[in-house]
Every structure is written in C-alpha cells, then in structure tokens.
Symmetry: C2
Subunit: 337 residues, 2 copies
DNA sequence: AATTTAATTGGGAGCGTTCCCAAATTTAAC
DNA sequence: GTTAAATTTGGGAACGCTCCCAATTAAATT
C-alpha cells in the first residue's frame, strides 16, 4: 500500500530481535512453544516498528483470507429504496469486523447476475459469503452445494430439502400476532396484501394471517401482490377499496404506506374508516402520518447473526450440523390500526 | 473455497495443454509473446476446466490485490437514515466491479474509529480506499499523506493545502441557483438552514445562498444548524417560525422534511404561508407532501467517479497530478417552493 | 543453404507467510 | 553426574502466481 517500500517482513523482525522467522511467526500466532523471554523481546520489536504480518502471504499459505462476501442479487433501485439492505449490510459488516473479518460487497442487477455472482463465488479471496435474499434459484443452490461452498442465506429458502444454513425471522408468528391483534380490535373484514409471492417472507407472513383468521372463523381475504413496494401498495389498495374491507394488513411497511396514501387520497381517514398495518418497522413507520402499527424485525441483528453463523460455525469450526436460526419479531401498536 | 481440493493451478493447466506454467500465465495476462496456436490451445483447456487463477497468489507477487476499501467514518444510525451512503456505496461498487475490482466495506462508529480505520488503511489486501465523508481530521489526512496512501475523498476537505484527490458536487452553485430561484419567485425574507457547520457541503451551500442574497441586496438570515437530520430540521423550524420568514432553504432534504412537518403542525400551508426548499433530491423528496423543490445531486455518479479516479488514475496510472472533480447539480422545481 | 534476427517457450527465483521436522537447549529423573 | 525427556528454536519446503533470463524454435536476410 505504501509506495515507499519500507514494509518490514517476518525476516526483518526476526533479525531485529535476534531470533528466527519461525519464532516471530509463533509469537504472532500465539503458539504455545515459545519461551516467555523471547516472546516479550519479539513483541517489543513488533510494537516498536508497528509490524503487521502480510495478510496476502498468510492467506496464500493458510488458504484462508479472513474475508467474507455479501451477495445482493437485486435490482439496483430496490437496494436503496428500502433501508433493509443497508441495515443488513451494516449488521453483517459490524459483526464481521468484530470477529476480525473483512467484508466485500457484490451487488448484481438481474441482467448481469451470472457474471458477477460467479466471480464472487469462485473468488479464492473469499472464505464464504452471505446471500442477502432468499429468492435464489434452486439450481443455483444445488450448484453451491455441489461445489461445497460456505454460505449462509438471509431468509428461509423456498425449498428446504437441502441442508442449508440460514437466518430468518418469525414471519409466520408475526403475521399471526398482527392478525390476532386486528381481530381482537373488532375488525372482521381483514385483508392481507402479499409482497412478492415467490419470497418466503411473504408466504410465511400470509400463513400466519391465515392461521389467525381460521382460528377466529373469519374468511381470509387475499389481495393481489404489492411486490413489497410503495407503488405496489398504492395500486393494490386503490383496486380493492370498493370491496369495503375494514383493515388491510400489508406484508411490508412500504406497501402499507402506499396503501395509506391511496386511502387518504380517497378522502377516507385512518384508522377510523379503514385500518392499515405493516410489517418490518422500517424507520419511516414511526414517522409516517399516522404512525404505523406494524411488526418489528431487527434487521441489524439478522445481519450480525448471519455473519456469526458463517464465520464462527461454518468457517472456523467447520461443524457439519445445519444451523437455522429464527429471530423473534414483536407487535408494535401505533395509530394506524 | 471448496473443501474438495479440486482446484487446479497454473501448473495443472500447463500440463493439460502441453505447455509450461509461464506460457499459461502469459495467455491469462494477455501478453503478446505467445503464438496464436498455443494461445488457442491453452484457452480451450482453461475454458474446459473453468480455471480461475488464484487471486491471492497473484496479489502476493504483484503487490496488488485489485480490491479497494470504502471507509464510512460515521455513527451507525445515520448510515441508514439517509440513503446517501447506500447510494454512494452502490455507485462505488458497481464501477469498481466493472473495472474488475472488488470492494470491501469499513464502517466505523465514532467510538472505535481508530481501531477499524487503522486496520483498514494498513491492510495490504487493499490497493487504496475511498473516504465517504469529508469531515476527516486534518491530522488524519496528514498521516495518510505521510504514509503515502492511495485514497480519494468524497466531498471537498475542509483544508486544502494538501494535494488531495476528491470528488465533490457544485454545492456553492446549487445554493446560488436555489436562492436565485426563490428571490425571483418574489420571496424576500429567505432563511438558510445549515446542516453541519464542519462539513464543507453545508458551508459551500451556504456560501452560494449568501452570494445570491448579496447580489439581490437582501439580508441573509442564517438559522441554527439542523445537523442534516429530520429531527434537526423540525426543531430549528419550530424555533424560527416566530420570525416570520417567507421561505426556508434547508441544506438537505431531510431537514426540509422536518421543517415542513413543523410548519404543517402549526396549521400553516406550504408554499402559501411559507415556502420550503431542500437539497439532494433524495428519493423521498418527490413523494413528500408537498413534493419538495430541491437541488439534485447524483450520488450514484459521485460514487462511480470516486471509484474511477482511485482505480484508473491513482492505482493503475499512478499519475501524480491531483484530481479534483466537481459534479454538476440542477434545480428541481416542485411544489414546496 | 548458411547466418542473423525475431518470436516463442521453459525453468528458476522470489513474493511473505505457515508448517513440519530436526537440531539445540533446557529441565527432569535416576 | 549422566542420561532421558521435554521444551524451545531454526531452516527447508510449500502455497500459486509473475517476472526475468536463457534456450529453443521460427522467420527473415544475404
């Protein structure tokens, strides 16, 4: 990195402290077989010259880079429309850094995905990676397994016959809790607006909704899918307003906001005329007018957990038990429902 | 990366195609001195086995990793409140990947910064890095220079006696344009709300505002700083509403939104009673009620440009001329002013 | 056809580590 | 005090690549 070639190596430190390269290596790697005296002497020299062993050389011989990748197979616009990815990346990065791992980013639009994805996945610079979206094709998953890659999924994958490590949240439970709350509030004609029907997050939230409705003996009302976007929520809400539902439970906050805007445009008020509930507790949810009743998931923790599983369990311990962690969600009651 | 040690190396490819390691290396690196016939033969073998040269080994000998770092020295919450960083990171990553470079992320809160920052900066795995915030301490900049690091700043640094590479936008011009527009609209008592007074983006926007006001012979009104946040904008607006200004030009959209909410709360309407203008053209700006008149900057392009400068000019060409690029902004007139 | 010149090819060394094994030293045991 | 065992230390080899230089081969010149 410096242009001035003043970078010391193990051999230099060895000479400066009157021992051999191997001994310095042992000191750096905390190997037990080195006497207290020499250890201290070497440590002093290391500190004095602020020596840092060359990570590249180390990676070459250990076959471990201490770097993981984040794969975001998503069209560009969505990555910054929703804070989900930003928070996820953040959660992953902070935890990884804490465990002394670096993080490299692989963004890929739907057009060029194969290229970037394959480069990232086959990068020997990477010890493993986190796939930041579960809607990954089954063939792709199968290939990863065939090639024995180390990776963790964020979100339950649609197929589950493969022993896949993943982190997910209690989507079903969240859907159930919210629906139960709405029912208990006295609403009967409660509609559910799916996000993207291929994503398990939407599927599971809907399953929770359906369970609660069935338990209460109420007929489920499923609207067209809103694709997890504000625009989608707006359009779907407009479409179904004639059906005079009493409450709409949207599979995401962004859709809930879109729906709310359609309702307000109609001159109706929330929650008096129609109640709106979301999912995620995105940062906008609390500040929206009216503040959104929603189901909170902690995306930062999801990211951190994914990093932890990948690094601690898969890379360092190489345990072969499959780790599937489901993080809790909680009902956040505000004013919109 | 694979557990199965089926990874081929140069020597394997050489054997499989009946040439030497060196020749394969030449083919991979597009060296001219290799005959058409052998080149094709080797290429075929490479394609057949889907061979990818080991980046770590390559990095060790070339002393270049083809990876750059992004340093985000920012408190965690801000990184996802504003889409600025998400977009910037995105712009950098896409361009870097396009130039066949990887990107690693270094987030650092104000508490642990020295640690993470120093690790990132001294990482021999990194060919250079982009500092995603100009409010970097002068001592730190001086140190970077002393150690001959390769880096690019996003945003003009507060001190400019060092030959520092940076990407910035026409903040002064943006401030000027907006103020000129407001004046031309007939407003006289136009206030400016600074973001964070240490950041050159705020300073420059204010300078533009002051220039336009001076030219029109109007007295400048500077409010307390809103710290670039919605909350800040809200609080500052509340504080100054008694002064009956006709328009508030905020140094960011988030502050403008906060200010707008304070105004709406007061039962006043925008822009009839008081006009509001922002800066950035964040994605919320167009969707806010009322849609925000603002100054557009293209953060994605800023990121891409920073990556380009770092990689093409500093790393690959190692030109020693200082590159300082100022990207254009444009006035976006909507309904809030 | 012989010789010079140019193009192509192969092997050695080295990048800075870690790991293994043997040598040297210290400590323990009889 | 001698031998055995345990601890500490040093040097060689390897990781997979690039680069340099010498050797080989092909093309050009007389």
């Amino acid at each position: 990195m410096d242009s001035e070639n003043n970078h010391l190596n193990l051999e230099d430190i060895a000479r400066l402290s009157g021992v051999s390269r191997s001994t310095v290596s042992r000191v750096i790697n905390d190997h037990p077989n080195v006497s207290q005296r020499t250890r201290e002497r070497v440590m002093q020299v290391i500190k004095k010259y602020n020596f840092q062993p060359n990570a590249v050389a180390r990676a070459l011989v250990t076959q471990r880079s201490r770097v993981i990748g984040i794969l975001v197979p998503h069209i560009i616009t969505e990555v910054f429309t929703e804070p989900f990815f930003a928070m996820l990346i953040q959660g992953i990065t902070l935890k990884a850094n804490q465990l002394d791992y670096g993080v490299t980013l692989g963004l890929t639009s739907h057009t060029d995905n194969t290229n970037t994805i394959h480069r990232l996945i086959n990068d020997p610079l990477l010890d493993g990676f986190i796939v930041a979206e579960a809607s990954i094709s089954p063939e792709f998953l199968a290939q990863l397994h065939r090639e024995n890659k180390r990776y963790v999924l964020v979100g339950r994958p649609p197929i589950s016959d493969l022993p896949i490590h993943y982190v997910d949240v209690e989507n079903e439970q969240g859907g159930y809790l919210m629906t139960q709350y709405l029912i208990q509030k006295g609403y009967c004609r409660i509609a559910f607006m799916p996000g993207r029907i291929t994503l398990t997050s939407s599927i599971d939230r809907q399953a929770g909704y359906e369970r609660a409705m069935a338990e209460a003996g109420l007929p489920p009302i499923i609207t067209p899918a809103g694709n997890f976007t504000k625009e989608g929520g707006y359009l779907v809400a407009k479409q179904i307003l004639s059906q005079k539902v009493e409450a709409i439970f949207c599979a995401s906050d962004m859709m809930a906001i879109g729906a709310a805007e359609a309702i307000k445009e109609q001159g109706l008020s929330i929650p008096e005329d129609i109640a709106i509930a979301g999912f995620d507790d995105a940062s906008i949810a609390a500040n929206f007018q009216p503040p959104l009743t929603t189901v909170r998931q902690d995306v930062l923790t999801s990211g951190a957990t994914a990093a932890e599983i990948l690094i601690e369990h898969i890379i360092e311990n190489s345990s072969d038990t499959v780790i599937q962690k489901i993080l809790p969600v909680s009902l956040i009651v505000r004013e919109s429902a």
